[in-house]
Symmetry: C2
Subunit: 189 residues, 2 copies
Amino acid sequence: MIEIASVGFAETGFAGTSLDELARRLDVTKQTILYHFGSKEGLLTAVITQAAADLQSELNAAVHKSEPGWDRVESIVRAAFAIALRRPELLGLLREVSRLGPPRSDAVTDVLEPLVAQALEFLERGMDEGLFRTQDARLVLASAYAATTGVVTEPDVLRVVGLSLDLRVAARLRRTVLEFLEAALLHHR
Amino acid sequence: MIEIASVGFAETGFAGTSLDELARRLDVTKQTILYHFGSKEGLLTAVITQAAADLQSELNAAVHKSEPGWDRVESIVRAAFAIALRRPELLGLLREVSRLGPPRSDAVTDVLEPLVAQALEFLERGMDEGLFRTQDARLVLASAYAATTGVVTEPDVLRVVGLSLDLRVAARLRRTVLEFLEAALLHHR
DNA sequence: TTCTTCACTTACCATTTGGTAAGTGAGTTC
DNA sequence: GAACTCACTTACCAAATGGTAAGTGAAGAA
């Protein structure tokens, strides 16, 4: 139920997805949905909470099965691409939630915040140790995040350059993004 | 009129913006809107057409006042950030249109396509001449596009890393993105 | 057996939605 | 000055929307 709603909200947006339509797709009455979630807003909350939890577990897994350092960056980017292929609606929803803004996006930002903090620490330590070029870590992170999620959530972008997201393209794209990141972090020449 | 509608569609999405609300904001009756555009769909078409034209003129200006080569890349990225600051709704709309997909997004992709073709040519020439690292130009372009627009259209991304898009942040962000691009294109070390 | 809870449905309902029909008044053309 | 166009309004309307109220049948507890 939440899953179908997630797909709906991700694809057509919160406002663009009616309870009637959702009910039809679930083959239950609209009132069944309202029984479980109280209101459309309640359904949205449930959907966001679930998405945040899923995102957290996926990303945490990526963090924990990797070693601190560059390996972890690779692991997280790999996880992002894996999600894009396996559960594209999760990233679509992320984008929709981002547009809805706080307080609706709070559950998601709460999940992302510790990861961001960790990433900033990693970047700053790398810079201190002379491994990475010294620059504002927050700006680097924002760019990296945008590059990864953008390429993965906007099929239109890929279509314009004549690609579509399948397994092979994803693998090559992941490599490109990682090389991008590496090049940007390391010292020039 | 189109401008207000653009802002509405960009901020709350096409489905999330009612004609009644728009009419209220414009201080006319809803039927005035329908008189001019025939239907809500007609209004959307007009909005997208206008946005595509604006985008085209902004980007064309960036292309023409720059010299071929790296200077042109800088000029286009600069233009993207200028748009983000001066007319954020244009980029928000771009994202919404991208979600609506074809045929609604056709007007926009038509504008982007020649620019993409030009960019691909530039990248491939650079690779042939040994200036840039050899890689799939389409993948590079997709990543570059995603990094630029993502950082600029998703205020949430910035908020999570503790920033918000103002003039100073934009300038620094632009520098970071450009350094990103440069580093990714040039040979390692 | 009776009582209660649970998951769900049927029957409504007020409001909002995009849209049509029929004007109205200010210019403009002939 | 009559006919017409233009930009816009008033008066509606059917469908869709999110939501409430009042059941109903099945399963478990007393």
